[in-house]
């Protein structure tokens, strides 16, 4: 498909909404942005073992279960904020679909005192179905550049 200003705008707004809903822990709204065939992965390269690693891999159903069970989890309650800068929107092989590459910065804001800390940096590569009324997220790969997350985090980026 042709990547017009409107297509790019719709894709960018959809990605922003996916970040906002996760930041607000409104997981129902996040999942509503995803297609049923949604695939999510967090990948990282380790220079220590010189291997590419997959830190999390979920389809729609397993992502939903993970998010549904969060209230039962003891977790770091300091909220995180996902910031993105869209770098490139390209069309995918004649389909009503775009691939969007964005830079990602994740900040953590401490509940006690409000200090903002850089929590992680990386990239999103998103595949988005543009054929319906609303764009739907088909696939998200989070490619992290940073690898040190303290205790870790129960909510995906």
């Amino acid at each position: 498909m042709k990547v017009t200003y409107e297509v790019e705008k719709a894709a960018r707004e959809m990605i922003s909404a996916s970040c906002d809903t996760m930041d607000q822990e409104d997981f129902g709204a996040y999942l509503a942005l995803c297609a049923p065939e949604f695939q999510y992965a967090i990948r990282v390269y380790s220079p220590e073992i010189r291997r590419d690693m997959t830190w999390l891999e979920k389809d729609y159903e397993h992502m939903k279960t993970l998010l549904d069970l969060l209230p039962k989890q003891n977790r770091d309650r300091n909220p995180i904020k996902r910031h993105i800068s869209v770098r490139e929107v390209t069309s995918t092989n004649g389909k009503e679909e775009v691939t969007v590459r964005s830079d990602l910065q994740v900040y953590r804001v401490l509940l006690d005192g409000g200090e903002a800390q850089v929590f992680a940096i990386g990239k999103y590569t998103d595949r988005i179905d543009m054929s319906g009324d609303e764009p739907k997220l088909l696939e998200r790969e989070v490619r992290l550049d940073s690898r040190s997350l303290g205790a870790g985090y129960h909510i995906p980026f």
């Binding site: 989890q73 770091d76 303290g150 870790g152």
Partner: protein
């Protein structure tokens, strides 16, 4: 009603091996003793041989005694360990965590460790092979034969792990393990490969992390473990077995993963373990072998100070895995034990919380290691057994580390 300061600091009326003065976790002087009496004398896992698969591959290791170590595989496939210090003027020889010396470096030729400062060069066994303009500068006062690197005792074994010991008079690895890993040797028969590595740095003492790995009472913290373990009868039969040297094993159980909504079906096992079974050994002073079919996790605790610990986490599969099997092991490992897993961040939050709460040594209460349940799963014998060994080596009583000297606040 809350207790007064005096009541709070009163020694509980329990046997001395059941209570701990938490200043053993927070005193910088005790930590220096631990570096010398424990870490410089223990066999520690530096890495796994699969992290340096080819001749001339290297890996570095930050030793808890404060030493920088290089591991290099030589052309005969032997792994050598040396201090990462150039004997000329003390520069670091290798700066990256991992790589190969097979090719030339900017300062020197191939198959050598060349110091980037003045280009002294060493082979993969640590022998000095070149000193630039040696005769011109040193005449015959300095010879390369006399300037090899400092070697470190190294053994490869128990699943292909690379173990080092700073003490040249240390017992063999087998003697030091006291039979603890022999108890799970049927799970370590096949060549293993590391697929996961990450670190966590936590403001807490290394013993707090090892304690968490050495007791299961904290399964109350993990929804995942309550559902897949504690709710099922085999859980309460799991038992601690202790071994000489401060090591402990927790016997196997069958986990009921189907009870945890969203878990993949487990059909893939592990050598010596049926699908969903679990083997665990905690080694003194901070290593945990943790095999929960279909994947294995290895923790190594590296204290960076009395109140800071770096924990290295490795995930392992079998070298013989098909890509499909490997993908299952990775997904399984990381859904529980990865940085975004269900359990690991909870465990680390526990250590962080202890580190923060006990950081004020003037108002430390006594803490309890007092659960006695016939060595069954919620018994705290694992932590007590660790501290018995600790007391032998450090020479302090964990319940009275200052020999009845008044507590700081009194």
């Amino acid at each position: 009603m809350a207790r007064t300061a005096e009541e709070w600091r009163k020694r509980p009326e329990l046997d001395s091996n059941l209570i701990v003065d938490p200043r053993i976790y927070t005193d910088p002087e005790i930590f220096r003793e631990e570096q010398e009496c424990i870490f410089d004398k223990s066999w520690l896992v530096a890495c796994h041989e699969s992290e340096m698969p080819e001749p001339y591959d290297f890996r570095t290791y930050q030793h808890p005694g404060g030493h920088n170590i290089i591991l290099v595989r030589d052309e005969n496939n032997n792994i050598n360990a040396m201090l990462n210090i150039c004997p000329h003027r003390g520069n670091l020889l290798i700066y990256e965590p991992s790589g190969s010396i097979k090719g030339a470096s900017p300062s020197g030729g191939p198959k050598r460790i060349t110091c980037l400062f003045h280009a002294w060069a060493f082979d993969a066994t640590g022998e000095c092979v070149d000193i630039p303009r040696c005769a011109e500068g040193y005449q015959d006062r300095v010879k390369k034969e006399d300037y090899g690197l400092r070697g470190v005792k190294v053994e490869v074994g128990y699943g292909g792990f690379v173990w080092v010991n700073m003490d040249e008079n240390a017992p063999t690895l087998k003697e030091w393990l006291g039979g603890s890993l022999d108890a799970i040797d049927d799970t370590l028969t096949e060549p293993l490969e590391v697929f996961h590595y990450h670190r966590a740095v936590i403001d807490g003492n290394f013993k707090m992390w090892h304690d968490t790995n050495s007791e299961f009472y904290h399964d109350y913290m993990h929804y995942h473990n309550r559902i897949t373990g504690m709710m099922h009868p085999g859980y309460w039969d799991r038992e601690y077995r202790t071994f000489e040297g401060g090591h402990a094993q927790v016997t196997d159980m069958q986990l009921k993963y189907e009870s945890f909504k969203g878990h993949e079906k487990r059909e893939l096992g592990w050598p010596g373990l049926a699908p969903g079974r679990w083997a665990l050994v905690d080694l003194f002073p901070g290593i945990t072998f943790n095999i929960r079919a279909p994947s294995m996790r290895l923790d190594t605790a590296i204290p960076l100070g009395h109140n800071k610990v770096l924990v290295e986490f490795r995930g392992l599969g079998l070298k013989s895995d098909t890509p499909e099997e490997r993908a299952i092991r990775i997904r399984d490992h990381n859904s529980i034990w990865g940085p975004f897993g269900r359990n690991l961040p909870e465990d680390l939050l526990g250590t962080y919380g202890q580190g923060r709460a006990l950081s004020d040594p003037t108002d430390a209460p006594y803490v309890l290691h007092a659960r006695l349940e016939g060595n069954k799963i919620h018994d705290e014998v694992g932590m007590r057994h660790f501290l018995e060994r600790w007391q032998e080596l450090v020479g302090r009583d964990p319940s009275d580390p200052y020999h009845n000297q008044p507590r700081a606040a009194e």
